[in-house]
């Protein structure tokens, strides 16, 4: 082994030195025009992109942080945040699983994550573990042959400027809301997917994502476009616990579905929720919206939210095309001191549009959870239909669940149905299972997983299994 490598290994034990190395690639905290210019320059962006960011920044300056959500957190100091840090170099990552926190590995074990993926998820320099390049190349080739573009948003700005100009910010305008405006000004990571007319993406984009892009960023920006009759299934995040030194996360996801297109977007969110007092957890303020622009198009959101100290998130569908369909399937689990205000918006504009909402909220510990949903039916949306089912399950006596359904019905031919239930995890159900010999912990997870089944079956197969395991890990110790 070369002396240099030896030295590097030894130095790793000196945490201070390790941190200094990374800091040289990070801009000092604070946000002004020069920070944005720095980011844009680092990414090698054209001038129009910089102008777009600056426009967002100027609008953001005039906006106020929203206060309507049922959430309680101290004001965020936006000048104390650093808005850019370069991706870690392979030599700065752990070189093998031996260097990874054993607790993290234990969780992977419990989640049943395949051995060969654990290293990648733990941020181990991937090349040291397996040949990711060849895997990537295989995927790229297959996607390329199908005409599907799948790359980072930064690459897309450089390589496909016309598509970006045509679509970016058309679903979530730069000044849509406070966090979306901030994201538009400073986003640094995220994905771009373009599926051309008539093409069904040959693979679940999750498979690719899991192996290659587990390191997600603080201000992600994702844009997915399906042309006429195109289809794609995309999975973001993973069940493995994600830690990040950045507390504030504000992502924006935009989906565009043209005629007869179908986009299925699944999320498994397991950001660090903080310690038992909620200290150090991630604040997750996300704007996700899909635009069913074409007739008979369909957008389906499925989410499993278990992490973060604060979740503020309402994946929505704008049903513009005739007979377009929007779906939202959600499981949100909060434990400890977690707070979640989440739900969806279904905006019916076109004739004969349909939307379907199934939300399952589980609160344990001292956590607090709200479902907030808007169903808006415009005057031209003749014969529009919505069905909403919204169930809450409480575990223990100290957790809370709230439901805020909003309906704005603009014509008399619409049908809107809403069903809501709140139940405490049944003592009788628990007794029944335990009196068959099943342990209390297994009985809770059995009952909870049963409660979530309608949503889990919407997830891509392999993730449904992991999602169940994730639920069990999240609720560990919630009872008794």
């Amino acid at each position: 082994m070369a002396t240099e490598e030896m030295e590097q290994l030894v130095r790793r034990d000196y945490k201070e030195g390790f941190v200094t190395d990374i800091e040289s690639e990070t801009v000092p905290p604070g946000l002004d025009e020069s920070t944005i210019a720095f980011i844009s320059n680092k990414k090698g962006e054209p001038d129009w992109m910089l102008q777009w960011r600056l426009d967002a920044y100027h609008q953001w300056l005039k906006m106020k942080s929203p206060s309507w959500a049922h959430l309680d957190y101290p004001p965020i100091d936006y000048q104390a945040i650093s808005y850019y840090s370069a991706p870690k170099r392979p030599e700065d990552m752990p070189q093998s699983l031996d260097e990874v926190d054993p607790k993290l590995l234990e969780t992977y074990e419990k989640l049943g994550i395949p051995l060969h993926e654990r290293a990648a998820l733990a941020g181990v320099a991937v090349d040291a573990v397996f040949d990711s390049v060849s895997v990537t190349t295989t995927f790229k080739k297959e996607l390329g042959e199908a005409g599907v573009i799948f790359c980072s948003i930064s690459d897309a700005i450089r390589d496909y400027p016309e598509l970006i100009k045509q679509y970016l910010g058309t679903v979530v305008p730069v000044a849509d809301n406070y966090f979306a405006a901030l994201n538009s000004a400073v986003f640094t990571d995220g994905s771009f997917v373009f599926v051309p007319e008539g093409v069904t993406c040959p693979m679940e984009l999750s498979t690719y994502f899991r192996i290659n892009a587990a390191n997600t960023g603080q201000f992600e920006r994702t844009l997915i476009i399906c042309e006429s009759r195109a289809q794609v299934s995309y999975l973001e995040g993973c069940t493995a616990p994600m830690r990040d030194e950045n507390q504030l996360h504000a992502a924006v996801v935009e989906l565009v579905a043209l005629e007869d297109a179908y986009i299925k977007y699944s999320t498994v969110q397991n950001w660090y929720p903080g310690d038992e007092n909620g200290i150090g957890g991630i604040y997750n303020f996300v704007t996700k919206r899909g635009d069913c622009r074409g007739d008979r198009s369909r957008i389906s959101w499925t989410q499993v939210e278990t992490g973060s100290a604060i979740t503020w998130k309402y994946p929505s569908c704008v049903l513009r095309g005739k007979e377009s369909v929007g779906e939202f399937y959600s499981v949100a689990v909060t434990n400890g001191r977690q707070q979640a205000d989440t739900g969806t918006k279904m905006i019916h504009i076109g004739e004969g549009t349909r939307s379907y909402i199934v939300s399952k909220g589980i609160s344990a510990g001292r956590s607090d959870q709200s479902y907030r949903g808007l169903v808006k039916i415009g005057p031209r949306a003749k014969g529009a239909r919505n069905f909403t089912q919204c169930d809450s399950l409480l575990i223990g006596d100290t957790s809370g669940a709230h439901t805020f359904p909003y309906q704005e019905i603009g014509n008399s031919t619409a049908t809107v149905e809403h069903e809501a239930t709140t139940s405490k995890i049944g003592e009788d159900q628990l007794f029944y299972c335990r009196s068959r010999g099943i342990s209390e912990e297994d009985a809770v997870s059995m009952i909870v997983n049963g409660f979530c089944k309608d949503v889990f079956q919407e997830l891509p197969m392999e993730f449904a299994v992991e999602a169940e395991a994730l639920l069990n890990v999240t609720l560990e110790g919630a009872v008794g």
Binding site: Q429, C433, R434, S435, G437, I438, M446, C452
Partner: protein, 250 residues
């Protein structure tokens, strides 16, 4: 096998069982009869470990183990199994999944590994045929949308799969028509052997025409006031509870 001594049980500050004694040996079938509110269901619930019942004095031992010190699941793992009068629904959990989880939990407690899938399927198919239930019940959520009779058959199906040492059946006959009663009784009878015992809690004598008990106990006002053989049940049918106790103790 089961020894209940001077058991006093309070529910919400009201004393329900007031010094109950009961001894069940392996191979025996016991029936506890009595009017509504006598404490029949309380007895089986306390033995199974249901919360909300306070044992103020007395003891329950099962094969020498102190039952009151055991967790609910440990009692089941030891071979004590309660068939419910009102089985609960568990949405989203498949019947077959519950069966398998319960069987494997009990096997694990005995130091055995999980049952191999083909063996389990064979076992369940055989038992579900015995209970004259459609195999589609296995894929439905536990008790969800089941009729009263289907729920009771399902309880016995669990017994047949789990093979408890002591099966306690709480009002297993309530809500059954005569055909269903026969199927349920046949199921229970198939559990009878020299190593096992059965405790039936029932309001009506009718069930005992199908499952003939070795011993019958009359439970009134928190105590067993009279014990006898299967004939006692028949006398009860004719005379009613009040008259039976008013007879001078022989």
């Amino acid at each position: 096998m089961l020894e209940v001594k001077d058991l006093h049980v309070t529910v919400e500050k009201k004393e329900i069982l007031k010094g109950l004694n009961l001894t069940i040996k392996a191979g025996e079938v016991h029936a506890i009869m009595g009017p509504n509110g006598a404490g029949k269901s309380t007895l089986s619930a306390v033995i199974a470990g249901k919360e909300g019942y306070e044992v103020t004095s007395g003891s329950i031992t099962f094969e020498g183990q102190d039952v009151l010190e055991m967790e609910i699941e440990e009692r089941a793992q030891a071979g004590l199994l309660l068939g419910f009068q009102y089985p609960v629904e568990i949405p989203g959990v498949k019947n077959i999944y519950l069966l398998k989880a319960a069987l494997n939990a009990q096997r694990a407690a005995r130091g055995e590994g999980d049952i191999p899938a083909p063996e389990f399927m064979k076992l369940v198919k055989e038992k579900i045929a015995q209970m004259q239930m459609d195999p589609s019940f296995l894929q439905r959520a536990v008790n969800e949308g089941f009729s009263g009779g289907e729920k009771k058959r399902n309880e016995i199906l669990q017994m047949l799969v789990l093979q408890p040492k002591l099966a306690m059946l709480d009002e297993i006959d309530s809500g059954l028509d005569i055909d269903a009663m026969r199927v349920v009784a046949d199921g229970v009878n198939s559990l009878r052997d020299s190593k096992r015992a059965i405790l039936l809690v029932t309001h009506y004598q009718r069930l005992l025409d199908y499952i003939v008990p070795d011993k019958v106990h009359v439970l009134m006002d928190g105590r067993i006031v009279k014990s006898g053989d299967a004939e006692l049940a028949k006398e009860l049918e004719v005379q009613g509870y009040e008259d039976i106790v008013e007879e001078p103790a022989a």
